[in-house]
Symmetry: C2
Subunit: 507 residues, 2 copies
């Protein structure tokens, strides 16, 4: 970029910096609500959330921002520069989407969402869907109103408007075309595994490890893979997440189970993948601008899945990590070798909880939610019928009877505060990750042996250079082709899963 | 109050509720900066603070708020009701003070204060005054500008404008009249103690106790004395504080030293005193209104000092607490009896750090700061001369040579973010506490024996009824006379300190 910015462009960037700064405040409120806020603070916190959400909305949709975008679109000094042009293209998209939502709807989504999330926590603890149902109805109605404000994309359905919010340009039709073969081949794989005589022991994962010890080990892994703890932190919540607040402040959360340390370990690596993406964005210079913002949730998820599954479940990772885990955990892992650990973390066995599901069955959990929420938005599925439908389809897809709603439709936080259109991006993330991973291994020939030595720096450097630094300069599909030379398909993910699971189960 | 509020009054209360809610957001930003924010987040956090501070200021000083206050002042339905009238009286004061400050000054105080606080942290750690000096100069200049905006009270000095902000109605002349005899008699007491042959052992306080164990014991004490952990919490910071965010959310902090558990214990009880005052205010119903807000810092401090010193350093408190501490700390307190513990926590020995000072010498620390900051504001003391003056006066007043600025003029956070006019309220708090305490013991005859049994409920109930529930309905001096029948003087505090210290030292 030239040294001095065109004044209209500079003013626009300043206004959006302010909006992003206020958004960082809103993120802190949410993070605090999940981590440290005392329960009795929930009432006023809901008002705080509503107030801040309304102010952010006002800043992003001000008439002045609209005027400046329009003037930048006509300004050769802006459109003639690839980075500025990309910025203005995405500012236009954000502005148009935001101005379609009335301020009172935004405030209501935030306020009711905050209360609904509190209700969900209690309902989940008690496995009591009836307690959550009125809140879910409110949130689905508000979300449908949001989709109607965005408008149904041409040739699509209402739900596409929600999908597009999280994965710009993505449509149900495209998703179905990729999910179709994925579902078919994965079902086949799971069926083959279920017929295998090979039994994989996961005993090595179930030794008791104190939460405090796990937390220290988690921090050791974070430091090794390159998450910057001077510009981020790790805390404990019911539902793990990553919150990128502002420049220099990216927060991860995880949860500890004494009797299965890999839950928290992979949760931590997963969120760290998100966190390192946030830390790799050019926020110090361009905070508030699309080029310092993540492309899409799918690409975000590709980063978390890569560290969790492609790195963390590899044989080479355990070559490095196992001696360290043994040292940290005392006797718990005595006698365990890399081969045993590698097999144990790569089982393909249906289970109830999405966030604890293995890498292969995980995508079946996602497709279930994707289908259900699409029907709830379309009005084809009534909220009262959700638990029944969930349980029926779960059994059909994964072969297990859901024992209670805590392990069924109450397990995820997303719907409680209106995250609809979001779940599909988890599997899109797996697909992007697999396609990137094949390319990375072509570019860094000795990657496996480097990982075995705990040298994760070349991988992080590749991601920084090929993905992170661009922010929203390209759309997700465009970046995928630019980096891998091919449009997104299910091929790489299926090669990855089948290439790992079939040898382990000898099927 | 009548069932339906006059509409202008109702609208005013709503606008101030919104301002208070935004203020709670600002408090969370500050709390987070002290507790959990990663260091690299400081830059954007400064912008967040500035932005929120400016918005709060705008809400509190809006033309509409001014119109509504003026109309309420003319409305018999408001002025005819004692509570509403008190509310409007204090709203007028707040509005007039706030409108005297230009928005850019408020924003600059918040932004520079945030950066300056970071600089102070580093300077303190390195005991490097030169590193902090430019920031202190900036903050003192900004604070002087603030005082000039408020204006020098008639017959007073510029510094009175700052004092009045924290202790409404208080003036240097009044302070001097109370501090004078206090200083004289305290100096006499300390001199007598220094000539005493009686040596008090504090060995029982210096056994090693792990921070985690101290933290658990601190929580046990909090629960016992009545701090509501469902509506509050306790964390760790460099400088302990209490932050009352909003209804149901009051946060305390403390710091742990392995080798002196009473530091954190009394720090926790002190902040809990503040916290229980905040929890006793009528915030659920009247948040944002003066009648749900603390009267003054002096009264606030009277609550913290009461729990820390009048309860926590009493013989009866240790009758209850010692067996519990022995159980929690293992062998550390083996063989220690109540008499030994009582004497050890009531020594009167000059030391360097204010927050670790004993109850008697503490007030000499305060008077030092009160004098220095008054002269810095008047321009009679140059910032560059602060360390030298501090050390000279400290030696004169407390008889010790200050070894480094970390233990001298860099020890307190206050000045780093512009808290000037504040220190005097600590000693005012001790004075109020002593005067209240004599009255409480007249009203609750068996209070000592109840404390010995761990029954703190009657004391908290008394405080709730006679002090907390009123909020700002009365001014501090008025409440003091209402509750104790006498204006504030140094008599009760001197009776308390001399009545305790002289027998211990046999002087």
């Amino acid at each position: 970029m030239a040294k001095s910015l065109p004044p209209n462009y500079a003013e626009l960037c300043k206004l959006l910096y302010d909006a992003a700064t206020l958004n960082a405040v809103g993120s802190l409120l949410n993070w605090d609500q999940e981590t440290y806020m005392p329960p009795a603070g929930a009432g006023n916190r809901a008002d705080q959330n509503a107030m801040i959400a309304e102010m952010i909305h006002a800043k992003r949709t001000s008439a002045r921002v609209g005027e400046l975008i329009a003037s930048c679109e006509q300004d050769d000094e802006v459109t003639g520069d690839a980075v500025r042009a990309a910025n203005v293209r995405e500012m236009r998209r954000d502005f148009d989407m935001a101005t379609k939502l009335p301020g009172d709807l935004v405030a209501e989504l935030a306020k009711v969402g905050s209360q609904s999330q509190e209700a969900w926590k209690e309902a989940r603890a008690k496995s009591d869907f009836a307690m959550f149902r009125p809140w879910l109805e409110k949130m689905m109605n508000l979300t449908r109103r949001k989709a109607e404000c965005y408008g149904t994309p041409v040739g699509g359905e209402l739900y596409d408007a929600l999908l597009d919010e999280y994965e710009p340009g993505m449509r149900c039709a495209k998703v179905d075309a990729i999910f179709g073969p994925l579902r078919e081949r994965l079902s086949g794989l799971i069926a083959d595994v279920s017929r295998s005589k090979k039994k994989i022991s996961t005993k090595c994962l179930t030794g008791k490890v104190d939460a405090r010890v796990q937390n220290e080990f988690g921090h050791e892994v974070l430091r090794a893979i390159g998450f910057d703890l001077n510009a981020g932190r790790l805390d404990v919540t019911t539902h793990p997440f990553c919150s990128g607040f502002g420049p220099g402040d990216v927060r991860l959360t995880t949860r500890y189970r004494d009797e299965k340390f890999t839950d928290a370990l992979y949760g931590t690596m997963h969120e760290a993948g998100h966190g390192m993406y946030e830390q790799g964005l050019a926020k110090e210079k361009f905070f508030g601008q699309p080029i310092a913002d993540a492309i899409s949730l799918g690409i975000h998820e590709s980063q978390s899945r890569m560290w969790e599954n492609f790195v963390g479940r590899s044989r080479e990772f355990w070559v490095w990590a196992l001696p360290r885990a043994k040292k940290a955990f005392g006797k718990t892992l005595a006698g365990v070798d890399v081969k045993t650990m590698y097999a144990a973390v790569n089982t393909a066995q249906p289970s109830f909880i999405r966030v604890e599901a293995d890498e292969s069955t995980y995508n079946l959990h996602i497709m279930l939610r994707y289908g259900l929420e699409r029907e709830m938005i379309a009005g084809d599925l009534k909220i009262k019928d959700l638990p029944g439908e969930w349980n029926k389809r779960f059994e059909k897809s994964l072969g297990l009877k859901v024992p209670d709603d805590r392990r069924g439709c109450l397990q995820d936080v997303h719907w409680s505060f209106g995250l609809v259109g979001y779940f599909a991006t988890y599997t899109l993330g797996n697909l992007y990750a697999a396609q990137f991973w094949e390319k990375i291994n072509k570019d860094i020939k000795d990657l496996p042996s480097r990982i075995g030595k705990g040298d994760f720096a070349p991988l992080l450097a590749w991601l920084r250079k090929r993905i992170h630094q661009y922010g929203k300069r390209y759309r997700a599909g465009e970046l995928c082709e630019l980096v891998t030379g091919k449009p997104l398909s299910s091929d790489a993910l299926l090669r990855h899963l089948e290439g790992k699971v079939r040898p382990i189960y000898e099927v």
